[in-house]
């Protein structure tokens, strides 16, 4: 019983981090219809910024928000100087999403080589700011530690603030409107291009948080060729697709589903089947609902 609860706790923690990454991918998809593989590189770059600030100041509580700001700036920068001219050039080719995907893959490669060049073999340390030792319940140590609680808290806080932004503010309304109907929004006086950049910036901040939490929850250090980040990118994307790639709630559900099922498989079946399990979960969900858990068939959702 303890084992099952522990597995679930581990799965929920990992899943909530995947959810953040999924949110990062969903936000970009909603605002510009681009599957953003560069999100993984941005998360990596922001985590390095976080590690550098942590080294300078010694405080995780300064490093995390500043890394989020850095992630937002990186992401907005890429949207403004890279994706916007690209999409302007290629025009609106409807279903043609292959080229933007490839372009963001190229970006991912460039970000990685730049980080590799700057850091080489050095790694950025991002140790857990709180003790990672589980609480003791009736004599047994469970997988819920102050650190895990902090991760869940941060993710929850971000999700609540994102929901508030999207549902209760003018900015959120503009974001939803310009992804739902760019032309009409433009006529209604919304600066759609600017709003798109804002969407990318929020996505970058979410990705940065996911990167830092993934590192602190995992090995505690970040390197340019980090396997943890490949995992984060792939599972984040899979979670976004499971959730229907349009919806923030879907991204969270997708991330948690993925995290919990993978933790169970890791615990009870075997480590080498985790990746193929992610594929099987994805294909099962999509066979039952080709538009994902929350996705709408046809048309965009606001």
């Amino acid at each position: 019983m303890f084992e099952l609860i522990n597995t679930l706790l581990i799965g929920i923690t990992a899943g909530s981090i995947y959810s953040l990454m999924a949110i990062s991918i969903v936000l970009v998809w909603r605002s510009t219809r681009v599957v953003n593989f560069a999100a993984g590189g941005l998360a990596l770059a922001s985590s390095f910024v976080g590690a550098a600030i942590l080294e300078k100041t010694g405080s995780f509580w300064i490093a995390l928000p500043l890394a989020m700001v850095a992630g937002a700036i990186f992401s907005a920068f890429i949207e403004y100087f890279f994706l916007r001219p690209l999409l302007k050039r290629s025009g609106d080719q409807g279903a043609e999403i292959f080229l933007p995907i490839i372009a963001t893959l190229g970006l991912l490669g460039i970000i990685k080589t730049i980080l590799n060049y700057i850091y080489g073999d050095r790694i950025g340390a991002l140790p857990p700011p709180l003790p990672d030792k589980g609480f003791v319940v009736s004599g047994e140590s469970i997988a819920l530690s102050p650190m895990r609680l902090l991760i869940l808290g941060i993710v929850l806080l971000l999700m609540i603030s994102l929901t508030l932004i999207f549902q209760r503010t003018n900015l959120g309304l503009s974001l939803r409107a310009s992804s739902f109907a760019p032309e009409i929004s433009r006529l209604a006086g919304i600066r759609v291009d600017f709003i798109r950049t804002v969407g990318w910036a929020i996505s970058g901040a979410a990705g940065a948080t996911a990167g830092i939490l993934q590192t602190t929850n995992g090995s505690g250090s970040v390197s340019p060729e980090s396997f943890e980040f490949s995992l984060l990118l792939v599972f984040g994307f899979v979670a976004a697709v499971i959730g229907g790639i349009e919806s923030l709630v879907g991204a969270v559900l997708g991330g948690l589903t993925l995290g919990i099922i993978l933790a169970i498989i890791l615990m009870y079946v075997g480590g080498s089947l985790v990746f193929i399990a992610a594929f099987l979960i994805l294909i099962l969900v999509l066979l039952l609902r080709p538009q994902g858990i929350i996705g709408a068939k046809g048309g965009r959702r606001a």
């Binding site: 998809w29 050039r89 893959l105 792939v234 976004a240 790639i245 992610a278």
Partner: protein, 329 residues
């Protein structure tokens, strides 16, 4: 230019072209050393693999980020056929094509219902997941993998005939045959059907095309070709292991397809040569102008990524169509 001078290229011209390429390969194989032969064989493998992506994405309009996994299936099938059934090598290749096509048909029936990001996500998860299965089952050989032996060159070719030259011959011959078949297929009823579905699904359906069937067929054929590429890859490196099919392989095949021009089969050589030549050129450049080892190891990735972005910006339809649109107007 007012008048368009349309050159009429018939299948006879194309056949002569293929024979000329074959001759060129033959002459090259007699002049280059072993390492160059190995690279030549690798180019031939990439040609087949990239052609399978171009068929799927450029002609049928479906996205795959997971062709590396299909190559893995082909490679493992070929190796297992050889180890457990002791059949001749060419039957191993046929088995690789058949089994991978079958898998492609299964995957394609799921994929036909998906579009855009959903399909990209599914194939990506496949590329990450499939090779790691080998670690779970002992008959797949785990991390060390299993061996696949395409055989020694016949003794009648003489003592000087090297192993890699032999591989170069086998892969090039296979690539030429595959490419001949693919270009015929793309010009046939099926190729036209695929392009119709890609261009406008509604119009294609109104014209009596069964959408799902056409998409599944494209996926099946593409998978079969990818399986062949996988078996050829296994033959050139003598071994099949999960590390030969990382996510990076899937990504570089997609890269090669974009560099070749994803909508035209004709550019397939460009991408294949680029994938092999860029690391070579990069290491030359790094040796000459920079002593730093980190630059030498990072330059290939950087050049490939930068080329990718440049291609997407400057020639989104591929270098060949870019060239034609400038010169034939």
């Amino acid at each position: 230019m007012g008048v368009v001078h349309k050159r009429h290229v018939t299948n006879k011209h194309r056949f002569i072209g293929f024979v000329l390429i074959g001759l060129l390969v033959y002459i090259l194989s007699n002049t280059v050393d072993e390492w160059k032969s190995f690279q030549g064989a690798t180019i031939a493998v990439y040609v087949v693999a990239i052609a399978s992506i171009i068929l799927l994405t450029g002609y049928s309009g479906q996205i795959s980020l997971g062709h590396g996994a299909l190559l893995a299936i082909g490679a493992y099938t070929a190796a297992l056929t050889q180890i457990y059934l002791h059949l001749p090598v060419w039957i191993c290749f046929v088995a690789a094509v058949l089994v991978t096509s079958l898998f492609g048909a299964l995957l394609g029936s799921a994929a036909a219902r998906l579009s855009g990001p959903y399909l990209a996500g599914t194939t990506l998860a496949l590329a990450v997941g499939l090779p790691s299965i080998a670690n779970q089952f002992s008959f797949l050989g785990g991390e060390q993998g299993i061996s696949f032996d395409a055989g020694w060159p016949p003794l009648s070719f003489g003592e000087a005939f090297t192993q890699y030259k032999w591989f170069f011959w086998i892969t090039s011959l296979a690539a030429l045959i595959m490419m001949w078949w693919i270009q015929n297929l793309l010009r046939s009823r099926y190729g036209r059907t695929w392009r119709a579905v890609k261009t406008n699904e509604v119009a294609a359906e109104l014209a009596g095309i069964h959408l799902a069937r056409s998409k599944v067929l494209a996926f099946t054929v593409s998978a079969g070709i990818a399986g062949m590429a996988g078996a050829l890859l296994a033959a050139t490196i003598n071994n099949v292991s999960p590390s030969a099919f990382p996510l990076a392989l899937s990504f570089s095949l997609a890269t090669g397809a974009v560099l070749s021009g994803v909508n035209t089969l004709g550019g397939v050589m460009i991408g294949a040569v680029a994938l092999v030549a860029i690391p070579e050129i990069a290491s030359l450049v790094a040796d000459r102008w920079s002593g730093s080892e980190s630059v030498a190891s990072l330059l290939p990735d950087f050049i490939v990524s930068a080329l990718l972005i440049l291609t997407v910006f400057l020639a989104p339809k591929g270098p060949i169509e870019k060239f034609w649109s400038r010169h034939v107007k």
